[in-house]
Amino acid sequence: MEGRLANSWRLTVNDKNFIKTALLSEIRIDGRKPYEYRKIAIKFGREDGSSEVQLGQTHVMGIVTAQLVQPYRDRPKEGILSIYTEFSPMADPSFEPGRPGELAVELGRIIDRGLRESRSVDTESLCVLAGKFVWAIRIDLHILDNGGNLVDAANIAALAALLTFRRPECSLGGEDGQEVIVHPPEIREPLPLTVHHLPIAITFGFFSNESILVIDPTHNEEAVMSGRMTTTVNANGDICAIQKAGGEGVPQRVIMQCLQLATAKAVGITKQIKEAVEVYNTERALRKIKRHPTSTSVNVREKQNQSIGK
C-alpha cells in the first residue's frame, strides 16, 4: 500500500510553467483552443445498456442493469436509480482498489444529482406494483483510463447506457393480481427507459490568472489548475446542477460566462449522443433478423499447414 503512494505521479515544475505560459497566449498543450472540447467517441457493447465513451485519452465504460425490488417506504410508487462509480486502478496508478476515494464519491454525486434532481429519468414509469415491486436501475461506471475530465466522460457514458438499456416487460398475474410475471426477452420485446432530457456535465478549469478559463481539462492541466467547476445543463438551456467544490475564488461574471458556454456545448454533445444511439438501435433491429452465422471459428483438428480458414 505504501508502495503506491511512493510512486504517485507528479508533474515537474518545468511542465507546470510551460502549461501556464502557453495558456497566457491562449494555447493549450494538446493544440486545442481554450473553449474547445476533445473528440468524443461513443461505442456500445453487445448487450443492451452497455456503453464505452472515449473523450480524448479518457476512457469510461457504463453499464446499466435492472432488478425488481421493494420500493422505499416514503416513495411507494417510484422506481429507484442508483449510481456506482468504480475508479479502477487500471485508470491511474494512484487509484487504489477497495473503498471509493473522495474523487469517486464526488463524481458519483455530480452525475447522480444531474440525473435525479432534474428528473431526466422517469422513475414513476418504473413502478410495477405500488408499494411492493418497482424496478431498481443500477448504473455502474468503470473508469478505465484517466486522461482528465472524468466527470464529463462518465456522464456521457451513463446517458448513453441509459438510452440503450432495455428492461424486461412484466405484467401482473396470479389469482389476486398481486404476482409479477417477468417476461424473458425471447417472448416479449424488452422496453426502453423513459428519458425526458439529457443533462450534460461540462467541466471548466480555472488558473491562478483570473482571466484564464479552459473547458475539458486534460490530466496535465488538472495538475496545474487552481480551481474547477462542473455545470450540468441540457440542450433546452435548463441548468440542472452546478458543482464548485473549493479551489480558487471566481467572480460572478465568470460563472455566467461559463453557463453560456456550457449551454452552447451541450447542444453539440446531445446531438452526438442521440446520433450514436440511433445507429445502435438500427444495428440492433438488424441483428434481430436471423442470418446464417459466418463461420469464423477456428477448427482445432485441422492439419498444421492449413491456414486458419473462414
Binding site: 485519452q57 496508478p93 482498489p97
Partner: protein, 228 residues
C-alpha cells in the same frame, strides 16, 4: 482422425460450432494511455480488458522481499466484489507467477488489473490470455507465454471446447487448462476423471493454434489483429 466414439457423439452446439471449434478471437494491444501495458481479448462475445502497471517499489508486509510480487485485481462487470472474484484473482496470480521471471527485480510489485467487459462463458481463460498480452505490451520479462482454454464435458465420454454462457450453465463439469508448460491451473468441477486426459489432449492441440495467433500478433505491433 475422428474416432468412432466421437463420431457417434457429435452434437450440434447452439451457435453451429463443432466440438473442437473456438469462437472467433480478437485481440488489441496498447489500448490505454496511462497503463504501462494493456490489452483487450475477446472470444466470441466474451470480452476482457487487462492493464499492467509495471514494477513499483515495495511489496506487501509478509511477502518474500527477494522476489518480485504480482498483484492481481479482478473487476467484475457489475456488482460487489465477492468470493468468486477473489478466487479468480488467486488463480490468475498463481498462473502469472509461474510464467514471469520473479528474480529480476526483487522487492517490487507488478499490478495486473482485469476488467470484465462482457461475460459470455470462458471468462477466466480469456482473462489469462489478456493478461499475458498486456504483460508483453508492458515489457515485463517472462519465461514464456501462456495460453488458456476452457474444456467442458456435457456428458461423460466427450469434451467440447470454449463454451458459451448458456452451455456453461447446463454443463456438469469443466476445466480450465493453461499451457505450454505442464498444466498449471486446473479447476475441475464435477466428475471429470475419465475425460481429464482427453481434455488435455484436445487442449494441447488447441493451444498450438492460440500460440500461433499470439505470435502473429507480436509481428503487428500496435494494430489490433483478428484470427479466423
Amino acid at each position: 482422425m475422428i474416432t468412432e466414439r466421437e463420431r457417434a457423439m457429435e452434437v450440434d452446439r447452439e451457435d453451429g460450432r463443432t466440438q473442437n471449434q473456438l469462437r472467433p478471437l480478437a485481440c488489441s494491444r496498447n489500448i490505454l494511455h496511462r497503463a504501462h501495458g494493456s490489452a483487450s481479448w475477446s472470444q466470441g462475445d466474451t470480452e476482457v480488458f487487462a492493464a499492467v502497471y509495471g514494477r513499483k517499489a515495495g511489496t506487501r508486509k509478509n511477502e518474500n522481499p527477494e522476489k518480485a510480487w504480482i498483484e492481481v485485481i479482478w473487476k467484475p462487470k457489475t456488482g460487489q466484489i465477492g468470493k468468486l472474484e477473489k478466487e479468480y484473482e488467486m488463480i490468475l496470480k498463481g498462473t502469472l507467477q509461474s510464467i514471469c521471471i520473479l528474480t529480476v527485480n526483487p522487492n517490487s510489485t507488478t499490478s495486473i488489473i482485469i476488467q470484465v467487459v462482457n461475460d459470455d462463458g470462458a471468462v477466466l481463460p480469456s482473462a489469462i490470455n489478456a493478461a499475458c498480452v498486456a504483460l508483453v505490451d508492458a515489457g515485463i520479462p517472462m519465461k514464456h507465454l501462456a495460453v488458456a482454454i476452457c474444456c467442458c464435458a456435457p456428458k461423460s465420454g466427450y469434451v467440447i471446447l470454449d463454451p458459451t454462457k448458456l452451455e456453461e450453465q447446463k454443463i456438469k463439469a469443466f476445466a480450465y487448462l493453461v499451457f505450454p508448460n505442464s498444466v498449471h491451473s486446473v479447476l475441475p468441477e464435477g466428475s471429470l476423471m475419465d475425460d481429464y486426459f482427453y481434455c488435455l489432449e484436445r487442449g494441447c492441440a488447441e493451444s498450438v493454434k492460440l500460440s500461433d495467433f499470439l505470435r502473429s500478433l507480436k509481428q503487428h505491433p500496435t494494430d489490433s489483429s483478428k484470427a479466423g
